[in-house]
């Protein structure tokens, strides 16, 4: 099947610019890019005024399968990804059982091949059971298809274990994605420590709980030479630590989740459990620092940390609710509304953080639209508006703090390997 995407603004993620050209897809790969390509026998998509982007890659999602299928499955999670404009996701290993051995990684890949609508890249655990004690068989995991290592959801508490993990992973050329949280500073905290935790009477999580661990892992990254990608940075201090580490030449990259550049801890007022997320929503000063970090390149990647939970789990007292919100289907809208419309990033810079940079960190193909590349493409209407309605989510998760919010920037089409998996907000079956 041939597909001709005509007249769109092609996003060049390497040069960070837009070019008005046609894209011809044939047999799953990009056959031609150029002006006024002939339509001969191809399905034509008129992309005038739309952005034609390399397929978006969300390098931080929780698909919940195996073990927590009531929250999400590989099928529902990848449908949510397709609806959100993502052609690939990297899934975190905190499933049950934990993806700490090759058979779980293979299981995920098999399920993804059978019922996944987009590409799935498993991230395997750093330590067995993500317990922070014994290293996983990293070579075996890589062989099975794991693209990186993380104990996400939990920090690797023991610095000695983390150091050995980094030494071993760097030998295998695997990136470590640390979830930075010093538990002794978190205690029973459920939201950012500050004015609002004082008013709401909720136990606070200080910014220092994240920053202490970011600092430790940066020191260990320098010490071991391991490539480290800091997951979900949320504080001004973390951004500054990463900035200085990069200046020093340490192999570090980092990501931010859309809710962390959109919301502050003020949103917790009213105790909506959809605002309970780890790391927590921070202050407006942190949001400003994150935007600065995105603009100056300190923050490489935008990833959602998509964390679905059931309605019943979230319909409880704030302190008892699980951490996490769903992000796949609101990410593009939040990026365009909060970053592109406001001039923090150009649309091409934003797309680079949603595709090319994630591909680079994971060492997977994608992020570039060029002849001969496989045809993973996302078409976005940067001007269209849409109100967030969780009832329309393809994800099983409804836990979003953005319900009812009007977002500008709508993914219109998702193409994976030349196949249209989402068109006009409808996911293909």
């Amino acid at each position: 099947m041939k597909l001709l995407i005509k007249g769109g603004e092609l996003v060049n993620t390497e040069k960070c610019l837009l070019e008005r050209v046609d894209v011809l897809v044939d047999n799953g790969i990009i056959a031609a890019i150029g002006k006024d390509l002939p339509a001969s026998g191809a399905q034509v998509v008129n992309a005038k005024g739309k952005l034609v982007c390399p397929g978006l890659i969300d390098m931080h999602v929780h698909l919940r399968e195996p073990g927590y299928e009531a929250k999400e499955t590989i099928a529902s999670g990848t449908r949510a990804a397709a609806r959100g404009g993502f052609t690939a996701v990297a899934c975190m290993p905190n499933t049950n059982p934990v993806a700490d051995n090759a058979s779980v990684v293979r299981y995920i890949l098999e399920r993804a091949a059978a019922e996944g609508l987009v590409r799935v890249y498993p991230v395997a655990a750093i330590t067995k059971g993500s317990k922070g004690q014994e290293l996983t068989e990293m070579a075996d995991l890589k062989e099975a298809g794991a693209v990186a290592l993380s104990d996400d959801g939990l920090p690797v508490t023991d610095a000695g274990v983390m150091r050995r993990a980094m030494q071993y992973a760097s030998m295998l050329d695997l990136t470590i994605i640390p979830h930075c949280e010093e538990k002794s500073l978190v205690d029973k905290g459920v939201m950012n420590e500050g004015y609002y935790s004082t008013v709401l009477g909720l136990p606070g999580i200080p910014a220092a709980a994240e920053e202490v661990m970011v600092a430790r892992d940066l020191i260990l990254a320098e010490n071991t030479g391991c490539a480290v990608h800091i997951a979900h940075v949320s504080t001004a201090g973390s951004v500054e630590l990463v900035r200085r580490a990069k200046e020093k030449g340490i192999k570090v990259t980092c990501e931010v989740a859309p809710h962390h550049f959109t919301l502050t801890d003020q949103s917790v007022t009213g105790y909506d459990t959809a605002t309970k997320v780890n790391p927590p929503l921070r202050t407006s000063a942190d949001v400003e620092a994150i935007k600065q970090g995105l603009a100056d390149g300190t923050i490489d990647v935008i990833a959602t940390d998509h964390a679905p939970h059931t309605v019943e789990e979230k319909m409880v007292e704030y302190q008892y609710a699980p951490f996490g919100l769903v992000g796949l289907e609101t990410a593009v809208g939040l990026v365009f509304t909060e970053l592109v419309e406001t001039g923090v990033l150009t649309s091409a810079q934003a797309i680079a953080k949603l595709s090319l940079n994630a591909a680079k960190v994971l060492g997977v193909p994608g992020g570039i639209l060029a002849e001969g590349e496989r045809a993973d493409i996302t078409i976005i209407d940067p001007k269209a508006q849409e109100e967030v309605n969780p009832d329309n989510f393809a994800s099983k998760g409804r836990n979003t703090p953005f319900a009812g919010r009007l977002l500008r920037g709508v993914p219109l089409m998702t193409v994976v390997g030349g196949r249209i998996v989402m068109q006009d907000r409808r996911v293909m079956s």
Binding site: Y195, S197, V199
Partner: protein, 312 residues
């Protein structure tokens, strides 16, 4: 006439008029308690359900008596915190209460925001009898009632709140209420027991208790939970008593007619010496009595607030 607010969840979002109305209504209610036959038919046929996820015999009895003096039917639902872990959710409890036809639910719960969650779920009025570290509005209202009774006003008074501010819902409700009514509020406690950015609540924050006591009209001494020491929040009870214990010498820094308050139960010899607790300046037992009156006023106002029956 009733209140502008449908529920009593906290004093942060309550209007000055509503606070004044509760305090004004508590006065005739207190008269009822002073009578030989302490019962009026005002809430006959109405039902009040108390749901306590935390033990607090005092608060529960206070609400129970308040409801009974007004002739309401009362039911107590005891749900231990462990039932929360068993998956018995607050929402389930709320539905049960609603099915019972409650007019008012009184909730005591260890989680902040639980009263607000309950209010979103049920149609009847909800009174927050203490939710986590968040608010304990009826305690603050009875404190304010007591202050007004003795001082004739609240505006312009200097009120010092001493102790574990971090874990105190009493302190938070008092701060909102008192600052709204025009008092100058100071808080003092060890740095590890002071929540961050407290000054943005419109209070003066001290770590030296003497600074907070200087010229105070009212001193509200909070109960220190012995388990906080085990959590490492301060080194020892001995040191706490030495630095923050309200004793005769320290109370002398306040005005001569200072009012000494305590939400009870007291740890005598730790946060307050027996000498001060039993002194003329202390109104701790009066607070208990006023608690019933204030809760009567609230029950009455939240159920519509038609004419108070005072004719027998």
């Amino acid at each position: 006439m009733g209140l502008q607010c449908k529920h009593m969840l906290g004093l942060q979002d309550i209007s000055v008029q509503d606070i004044e109305k509760v305090l004004d209504t508590a006065k005739p209610m207190k008269d009822i308690i002073g009578r030989k036959i302490k019962k009026v038919p005002t809430l006959r046929g109405r039902s009040v359900v108390t749901v306590f996820y935390e033990n607090s015999t005092r608060t529960r009895m206070s609400f129970d008596l308040a409801a009974k003096y007004l002739s309401a039917d009362t039911v107590g639902l005891s749900a231990s915190s462990s039932s929360v872990q068993k998956g018995e959710s607050l929402i389930d409890t709320a539905r049960t209460v609603e099915a019972m036809g409650a007019d008012v639910v009184v909730l005591r719960h260890p989680a902040s925001g639980s009263a607000e969650l309950l209010a979103k779920t049920v149609n009847c009025a909800v009174i927050n009898a203490g939710d986590g570290l968040h608010e304990h509005p009826t305690q603050a209202l009875l404190d304010m009632f007591t202050i007004r009774e003795h001082k004739g006003k609240i505006k312009g008074l200097k009120v010092a709140i001493i102790g574990d501010i971090l874990h105190s819902r009493v302190a938070r409700s008092n701060i909102w209420g008192l600052t709204k009514m025009g008092a100058e509020v100071r808080v003092a406690g060890p740095a590890t027991l002071l929540p961050p950015e407290m000054d943005k609540l419109g209070v003066k924050v001290f770590t030296r208790v003497e600074d907070a006591l200087e010229g105070a009209d009212v001193v509200n001494v909070l109960r220190i939970q012995l388990e906080r020491q085990k959590q490492g929040l301060f080194p020892s009870l001995r040191e706490y008593a030495q630095l923050y214990g309200i004793n005769k010498e320290r109370i002398a820094l306040a005005k001569a007619d200072v009012l000494v308050m305590h939400p009870g139960p007291m740890n005598r010899g730790i946060e307050i010496t027996a000498e001060v607790a039993d002194s003329q300046q202390a109104v701790i037992n009066e607070q208990v009595n006023n608690g019933v009156a204030v809760r009567m006023a609230l029950l009455y106002l939240l159920t519509g607030g038609e004419t108070v029956e005072t004719t027998y």
